[in-house]
Structures are given as structure tokens and as C-alpha cells.
């Protein structure tokens, strides 16, 4: 279960925003995509799943277990999404449908890929809610997104992404929009879920300190190009690219720990 990205290019309205990006995510690995805003990291992730905005064009190669994803029909990609590859987005406030209960939204993840009944899916949804440590799962599934806190909504998003036990989780700046106090909790949750299931992880962020807590390997992007690709420990101690050095300086001091994640 590996992801191999080779020479990925994304053009939007004639502008090249991802330029020949290549990296690998072996089975069970936790890789970070790190760079400043506008470096193309989010678009790289979206390109993998065929979720680029209208008007964007992707070329190059993205292989998931040897299967080429670029150019695949949306219908085929849709079967992969959620089932083999899950994704969590940055902004929990807008990522959830405001007029559906969170329970229904989690259950939908399950019902899309597994032909279970509504009742069974609803029961599974409660279980998934408990798995992401949502308080009072049986009551919370009947709530609407606007009734939950930011951290809770993000947990719901994680539950939706992992409900079908995908092999790869892509997390696009999942903690950036959250309170600092909540960030650590969500990171811990994601790390434990990923480790327990032996999932691969692609974690996107601009914060090296956050990355150091959750990833073992880092790919640094600038202007849509890879400028450094090394284990996280190396990025933290002996960065070879000035971009990485800059990110190091910007990293949140309080979360920074030498040695990084295991």
C-alpha cells in the first residue's frame, strides 16, 4: 500500500502552481509535506484524489499500489476516496454540511462504500464517534455542526475520513485553524489512530514543530517545487535548504522538541 508521486504538475489558469513534485510514501510511513502558504502542498494532496478546483489541470504520475491515478475517471477515483484514501481538511467550520446531523454525515461515509442498512450505519457512526474521543457519542451524533466546538468538528471530520479504515490518510493542515490548546489533542488523536491501524500518513503543514510531532519524514516545498526531502530529524538539526532553515525559525517555540517523533 504505497503512494508514489512522480513529476506531478498542476496548472491553474495557465499558472504552474505545482512543478514536478516527486516523493514516496511507503506502507506505514508518516510523511510530511511542509512549506509556506502558496507553496503548492495542498494542491498536491488534492491532485492525488482528483479534488482539484474547477479549471485546474494535473499531469505527471501518481501511483497508488501501482495503479495510476492521474487521468482516472472521477467515478473510479470516487471508489478510492474514503475507502482506501481518506482526507481531513483544514477548516472544520466549513467542511461539514450545516444542515445535516454529524451522525448522518459519518454514517454516509460508511454507507457509500459498504451496503449496510441505515440503522447499522447509525450504530457504526456512534462507534466511530467514540473512537475519535467525542464526548457523549450517543447524544452528539444527533447534533448539527454549528452546535459543536471547532475541535469537536475536526474530530467528526477525522471520524468521517477513517470510518472505512482507509490505508492512507491525508491531513491538510488539520490543526492550523484550531485553538493552540486543542491542537495538541488532535495531533495526539491522529497519531494514535494512524499508528494503531498501521496506516500511512501524509501530513501537510507549514509548521515544522507540528510536523516533528507526527511525521518521520519531511518533504519541503517552495513555489511548487521540492527543495528538500529528508527525515524529520535531519530537517530539524541540519537543514540543507534555506527554505527549511526559514521554516525552522518560524516554528512555534513551545512545541519544538529535539529529536522529533519516533
Amino acid at each position: 500500500m504505497s503512494l508514489v508521486v512522480q513529476d506531478l504538475t498542476v496548472d491553474i489558469a495557465g499558472r504552474r502552481v505545482v512543478d514536478g513534485v516527486s516523493f514516496e510514501v511507503p506502507d506505514g510511513a508518516r510523511v510530511g509535506l511542509i512549506g509556506e502558504s502558496g507553496s503548492g502542498k495542498s494542491l498536491t494532496a488534492l491532485a492525488v484524489l482528483g479534488l482539484l478546483p474547477d479549471g485546474a489541470e494535473a499531469s505527471g504520475s501518481v501511483r497508488w499500489n501501482g495503479r495510476e491515478l492521474i487521468g482516472l475517471a472521477d467515478r473510479e477515483l470516487a471508489t478510492l476516496r474514503g475507502d482506501e484514501i481518506g482526507i481531513v481538511f483544514q477548516e472544520p467550520r466549513t467542511a461539514l454540511n450545516p444542515i445535516r446531523t454529524v451522525g448522518r454525515q459519518i454514517a454516509e461515509s460508511i454507507r457509500i462504500h459498504e451496503g449496510v442498512s441505515k440503522k447499522d450505519a447509525a450504530a457504526r457512526a456512534i462507534a466511530e464517534a467514540a473512537r475519535v474521543a467525542l464526548p457523549d457519542p450517543e447524544r452528539i451524533v444527533a447534533r448539527y455542526p454549528h452546535q459543536l466546538s471547532g475541535g469537536q468538528r475536526q474530530r467528526v471530520a477525522i471520524a468521517m475520513a477513517l470510518a472505512c479504515r482507509p490505508r492512507l490518510l491525508i491531513a491538510d493542515e488539520p490543526t492550523t485553524a484550531l485553538d493552540v490548546t486543542i491542537q495538541a489533542e488532535i495531533l495526539e488523536l491522529m497519531l494514535s489512530l494512524v499508528k494503531n491501524d498501521g496506516m500511512s500518513l501524509v501530513f501537510i503543514t507549514h509548521d515544522l514543530a507540528v510536523l516533528s510531532q507526527i511525521a518521520t519524514h519531511g518533504v519541503v516545498l517552495e513555489d511548487g517545487r521540492v527543495v528538500e526531502d529528508a527525515p524529520v530529524s535531519q530537517l530539524l538539526t541540519t537543514p540543507s535548504s534555506p527554505v527549511t532553515a526559514g521554516l525552522l525559525r518560524d516554528a512555534t517555540a513551545t512545541l519544538w522538541r529535539p529529536g522529533g517523533a519516533e
Binding site: 491553474i12 489558469a13 502552481v17 509556506e36 502558504s37 502558496g38 495542498s42 494542491l43 488534492l46 478546483p53 507549514h206 526559514g246 525552522l248 525559525r249 518560524d250 517555540a253 513551545t254 519544538w256
Partner: protein, 319 residues
């Protein structure tokens, strides 16, 4: 760009002022770049030009009756043919443009005055007054323009003034409703406070900060208001409550030609087309103005990319 309330990653600081000043006129260029904007501007200019020309010259006297030449087919010398009294249709259309322009501008002026007055009342006065105005405006919104026109016509009889006033009132209220929150928002924004702190008189403050923020929304509404005015003139003139029979009007022309629709079905095409194209042009102009002046669009619809360089601000301190 100088809008503090739009979402992700707005830059703040003195750099914004410079950018804001440059972008003040950028909307014009962008307007022309949009196909809707181009079409709208061209249509408006053509109609204006026709109206002005018609005041000085038309191929024939629009009122000139020539019974022997009734219902002539389009050709030479009557490029669009003649109507049931032998009048040249092209000249009638050209002359009608004057009425249309007159009504559109008149309605625009009335709507502007009423809109600004109500918006100002609803934003700048004491609380009880503001609330009453808000409620009043919400109620008036429900009055369709036609109802207002009927009310006025019942009392004073139909005329172009009726059209102008009813559209003016109807849309003035709409403009007030849209402009008032903008006014209030800007009034309480940091720019205004800063302006006051830096010693500007309230009036200067108003002009420098209020106008640029309120103007875009306002111009868009005005454009649409004028489109409605043209449609209203057509409809009301058709019903007999608009232009008097002595004035050339596209709506009146429709009414006159309608009676012969079974024998000369295509004669109504010309005034109808004239109205449609004019209204379309004004509508598209309004749409284009809205797109051209929308600050969030200047960064492109790319939500994934906050403006470049927005993050690097942490000083050199390292743990």
C-alpha cells in the same frame, strides 16, 4: 482589498493603503476585461448616442404619417419598415430611445436621492430613528414597483413622471436596504476611527473612507435600477400609464402594433428587441460592475492560497 471583513489572510498595515489607492481605478480596467462589462458599456453608449442623435436628426419625422405607405416591409428608404400609419419605424425607435434614456436617468436620480437619504437616516441617526427606518424600509420592499405606479396613476393620471417616481421609490428603498449595512460597517471600522484620530474633519473622513467602500455596491444597484426603469416604462406605457401618446416610446409602440399582430406579426420585433437589448446591457453592466469591484475576487477564487508572503513575520528568536 481595504475590506476588513473578508475572510482568509487579509494583509493589514500601511501597505494596504497604497494597494487600495491603486486598486481604486483598477475596477474600470477589469470591467472592460469582462465580456459582460464590455457588452454592457457598449449597449449603454449606443443607446445614449441614439438618444442624442435622435434629438438632432432622424431619417424621417417620427410623427410623420404617410397612409399610402403603410406596413412597408423593411428596405429602402424605411430601413425597418413602416407601421399602420405609415410612420418610419426606425425613426420611432430612435426617438423612443430618448424617452428611455430620460426615464432611466430620472429613475436613477430619484433612486439615488431616496436611497442615500434613507440609508443615511438608517445609519447616522439616533437609535430609535435607525430602528424605525429599518423596519420602514423592510416594509416598503414588499411594494412592487407596479403597485406604486398604480397608486400614483390613480391619483395623478399616467405619465413618464409616474414611471420615474415609482421606479425611483421602489429601487430607492432597495438601495437603502443594501447600502445601510455598508454605511454602518464602515462607520464603525478602524479606518474611520484612525481617520478621526489623525485629525480629519468628519466630512473628510466620510468622503475618504465611506464613499469608496459604499460606492461599488451602490453603482451595481443603480445599474439594475435603470434596467428595471426601462422595463417599467415599457410595461406602464403599454398599459397606458406611462408615456403620453404624443411622446415616442418603445412601450407605446408595442401597444400600438399589438392590435395588428395577426396580420403583421413581425412589426413588434423592433421595439421589443430594442427594449430587450437595452435591459440586457444594463443588467450585464450591473453584474460586471459587481464582479469587477468585488475585493475578494482580486485575489482570484483560490481559497487554497492565501496571499503570498502572508506568514513570514516571526522574529529571529529560536527556542
Amino acid at each position: 482589498m481595504s475590506d476588513p471583513s473578508t475572510g482568509s489572510g487579509t494583509t493589514t498595515g500601511s501597505a494596504t493603503d497604497a494597494v487600495a489607492r491603486r486598486s481604486r481605478w483598477r475596477w474600470l480596467r477589469r470591467l472592460w476585461q469582462l465580456s459582460t462589462g464590455r457588452f454592457g458599456i457598449i449597449v449603454v453608449l449606443v443607446v445614449l448616442a441614439t438618444a442624442v442623435t435622435a434629438g438632432l436628426w432622424t431619417p424621417f419625422d417620427p410623427q410623420q404619417v404617410e397612409i399610402s405607405n403603410r406596413w412597408a416591409a423593411p428596405g429602402w428608404p424605411h430601413l425597418l419598415g413602416t407601421d399602420g400609419s405609415g410612420r418610419d419605424i426606425l425613426s420611432l425607435i430612435m426617438a423612443g430611445a430618448r424617452t428611455t434614456v430620460f426615464v432611466a436617468i430620472g429613475a436613477g436620480v430619484v433612486a439615488t436621492v431616496i436611497g442615500i437619504a434613507l440609508a443615511a437616516l438608517g445609519a447616522l441617526t439616533a437609535r430609535w430613528m435607525r430602528e424605525s427606518v429599518a423596519v420602514f424600509v423592510d416594509i416598503l420592499i414588499a411594494f412592487p414597483v407596479l403597485i406604486i405606479a398604480m397608486m400614483i396613476s390613480a391619483v395623478w393620471g399616467g405619465s413618464l413622471a409616474v414611471v420615474i417616481w415609482s421606479v425611483g421609490i421602489g429601487f430607492g428603498v432597495n438601495i437603502a436596504r443594501v447600502t445601510r449595512p455598508e454605511l454602518r460597517r464602515v462607520l464603525h471600522s478602524d479606518f474611520v476611527l484612525a481617520g478621526r484620530a489623525s485629525g480629519l474633519t468628519p466630512l473628510q473622513n466620510l468622503m475618504r473612507h465611506l464613499l469608496p467602500n459604499v460606492a461599488p455596491v451602490f453603482i451595481v444597484q443603480l445599474s439594475w435600477a435603470m434596467a428595471v426603469a426601462v422595463l417599467a416604462e415599457a410595461g406602464l406605457s403599454y398599459l397606458g400609464f406611462g408615456a403620453p401618446v404624443t411622446e415616442p416610446s418603445w412601450g407605446l409602440l408595442l401597444a400600438e402594433l399589438q392590435q395588428y399582430i395577426t396580420i403583421h406579426p413581425l412589426s413588434v420585433v423592433w421595439p421589443g428587441l430594442a427594449i430587450t437589448i437595452t435591459v440586457l446591457g444594463l443588467n450585464l453592466l450591473g453584474d460586471a460592475l459587481r464582479d469587477a469591484t468585488d475585493p475578494t475576487l482580486s485575489r482570484g477564487r483560490d481559497r487554497l492560497h492565501p496571499p503570498r508572503g502572508a506568514i513570514r513575520h516571526v522574529p529571529e528568536v529560536v527556542a
